[in-house]
Amino acid sequence: MTLDYQKLGLIAGIEIHQQLNTKEKLFCRCPTTIREAEESKGEFFRYLRATKSEMGELDRAAEEEMMQVRQFRYLTYDTTCLVENDEEPPAPLNEEALDIVLTIAKVCGMTPVPEIHTMRKLVIDGSNTSGFQRTALVAMNGTLPGGAGIETVCLEEEAAQRIEDTIFSLDRLGIPLIEITTSPCMHTPEAVQETAAQIGMILRSTGKVKRGLGTIRQDINISIREGARVEIKGVQELDLIAEVVRREVCRQVSLLEIREELKKRGASVEKTLVDVTSLFTDSKSRVLKSAPKILAIRLNKFAGLVGREIQPGRRLGSEMSDYAKKCGVGGLFHTDELPAYGVTEDEVTNLKKALDATPDDCVIIVADKPQRCQCAMQQIIRRAEMAFEGVPKETRKMLEGGSTAYMRPLPGAARMYPETDVFQVRVTPERFASLEIPEMIDDTIARYMQEFGLAREVARQMAYSERRSAFEEAIHSGIKPALAERAFNSTLRELSREGAQVHRIKDEDILQVLILINSGEVAKEALSPILTALAEGKTPAEACERAAPKVSEEELTKIINRIVAERADFIKERGNAATGPVMGVVMKEVRGSVDGKIVNQILREAISQVLKNA
């Protein structure tokens, strides 16, 4: 569907969460190292339950999570401690992390909070052992160079990584995370994506953020006129952001259309539950046949709307199903999609009859343990009634491709209360003033092009590279920019594509090799094999020796004379034009250990000797 976003009144904002690359975690002294689950040293399990806030309110998001009592299992490592286990009070707020956040705030022209208070934000989905996430508001009110407003930046602790359903890995818990929240100032899907890209660029410019998939996550807040604010969590790929926005607008538009249609039809939700377990005792649907209980409700004049697609792969029925799943059921069936899944036409007819349903009605069934069915039906009724309102305020999660599923209601302010175990931190004007603003990567790219003569794409790669500062250091110590760029970027990329473990190569080793090349001790032609050797774990000296053993001029002359003699006929036939091909043979034999210029000089002499004798 093509949409006129301006006419629809699209308003969007984003929250970006980026892991910071600090030495230690935010509230303990553990390293910020991500581990493999197989490296786990132990595990324990806990139950979480919602608690009341200081105001005596129960957060509605937390309340919904509480519908199921779940046991959470946690994996521990030799890089995690009692703080992650929720068995020791937190250490003071990590000052290194705070400085990074303050620096970013300064880049965005924000006002730092004079005294930073760490809060506990209730999160009882198991991803935090304590049942809350520690978070602190650090600065307010800024603007991006592109004009988008930044409302707040916060410093938070990262949640534990979910390994599967209720199993979490504690390595990630507590890694410092910056949260940047824009104002709701974007009005097209593309603007949202551009703003996200710009914030990403600023974050990377500090050189102090983690890299790689999962280290940055975007949450998008979207609403349209007459729709409602919906927060979509965990968009990891930048390129998908615009699509996510488009699909959410599409969903809200469709839900509003459904609302109008329901009103027009005079639809209603029948709240009486009907036990239809007996109708499916011989069903071919295994789920239904084996279910201890099957309950059904009738949605009057909903026919066709429950099955109507509201965004790719999603229907109103999927929304109801998401709500029902909060009670632990696997999902639901509705008559808009039946007969299917082993349910026969006869069964559908009987079902409709049992519920006195007309062809205009839709019947929904849920099969599970009795208590779960009851709970799920209440949720379905709730969601069906929301259809008359249009778009419910929700937190949603992104699915593959950019559609979304319901997660929980939007949390309220009630889920925040003070983290009393952490002292407040005062940010003095002197501290804020002394923070150095890093060069923005966009400026770095321009400088690399202008000063070093790099092509735009190469300059961009180099500017975003982790090896950027080593690259600049090399140039400082007299290495030619083109060579330095090849050593720190292009050649590494080529080798990486060939499968070399280039991440193992240390910057200082590359620099050492470059100095050898610069002094003429190693030929620049040997760069690639030397880097390959470094990637295999060799020292620079070993790598140079292996990739390019030293050849004396005497040895070189001998080699050249031998090769020329072997190819005398070819040389006589081609004359001076033979120089190129023979040069290749020589270089291959000396494996680039000799400067091409010297080889060329000796070779020309040898060839002219052959030609003279001919």
């Binding site: 009341k52 200081e54 005596g56 309110e57 208070h117 049942g131 978070t135 209360y417 009393t420």
Partner: protein, 410 residues
Amino acid sequence: MSTTFETGDLVRCTLQGCSCEGTYITTRDGMATVKLTSGYNIGVPEESLTKTGSSEMAEPQEVEIIQDTTLPKISIVSTGGTIASKIDYRTGAVTSQFRATDILNAIPGLASLAQFSAVQLCNILSENMTPAIWQQLARAIYDEIRSGAQGILVTHGTDTMAYSAAAMSFMIKTPVPVVFVGSQRSADRPSSDNVMNGMCAVKTALSDLGEVVVVMHGTTSDDVCAIHRGTRVRKMHTSRRDAFQTIGDGVIGSVTYPSLDVSLASHAVKRGNGEPELKDQLEEKCAIIWYYPGMDPALLSAWSGYKGIVLAGTGLGHCGTDMIARIREMSAAGTLFVMTSQCLHGRICDRVYDTGRDLLGAGVIEGEDMLPEVALVKLMWVLGNSSSLSEARLMMAQNLAGEITRRSSV
């Protein structure tokens, strides 16, 4: 507290470059805490605030707990502690300030296990516990047993819980379980251990037990609570959930969670039919002295006039030879010395080395395998309930409430 603003006032905060709206909470050291509409608190100079209105701070709602009168009666005696705590804006810290009935609100599952009556004895952080409060506590427990409670639950801060449990073990002879319970992680957090400890403690209070125990997490997981004898339990970790350990004996039982099955070891004292006995006299002029290499014997003089001193000695039960003369003098003047070990595990034997023999000669009693703190509490009780020093010496060497084992099992 500020005189300009009151908690709950709506305020606008104007900082250089921005302004925001929120609710005024409190002021400390010139910095005002403001809760923004987003839920975040920030600290700002008080002069940056202007009042824009006032709001009612929502009071925590009282939920009426309906008690099932067909269930057995359990009395909760509350002394404070983390099992029932909340955030106090005045100090900015988690403090114990709930009343005993709030425990039922905090742990809704309790109401299905028993019917509860609650006595709020005091509301203190357990580091502020005193022998005088032990006496009140013993009387309160005694009264509750007399009035028909099937079991007693004592909520207590964890810091000195082991001392109090030991004190009750000597002061009350109980036919029903007297169960101390607390929590290591504050009750305001979703991960608090208060629910599991509370549920397991109530099941213990309903069990076939007839002695004073501590019930707390047995492991770091939410899987089982351990039942510890009041005279053998010790807090062995500052913060872990399973901080409480039985030292020098086996635990006397366990309660699984969430199934709440209680199993008792063979050496657990079983529930009886008799009346409780209360002996609540304590001699408070008692002390514990932790010996260290090079300790100045003159320090002992600070305790002259004390009726009893527990020495936490080294190894088998020693302190430096220089100390012995002063101990002999004080002992002769009527101070009762009891030797225990800093090792915590194992039995005192002052008959192996000369120093030990000299200590015995100076009048020191071997504290067998008593824990140092338990020996102190026992000494207070023995001196308060014996008619002569020689009787007291005899009582100190005897097992009265499971504090001494006859054999050191392997």
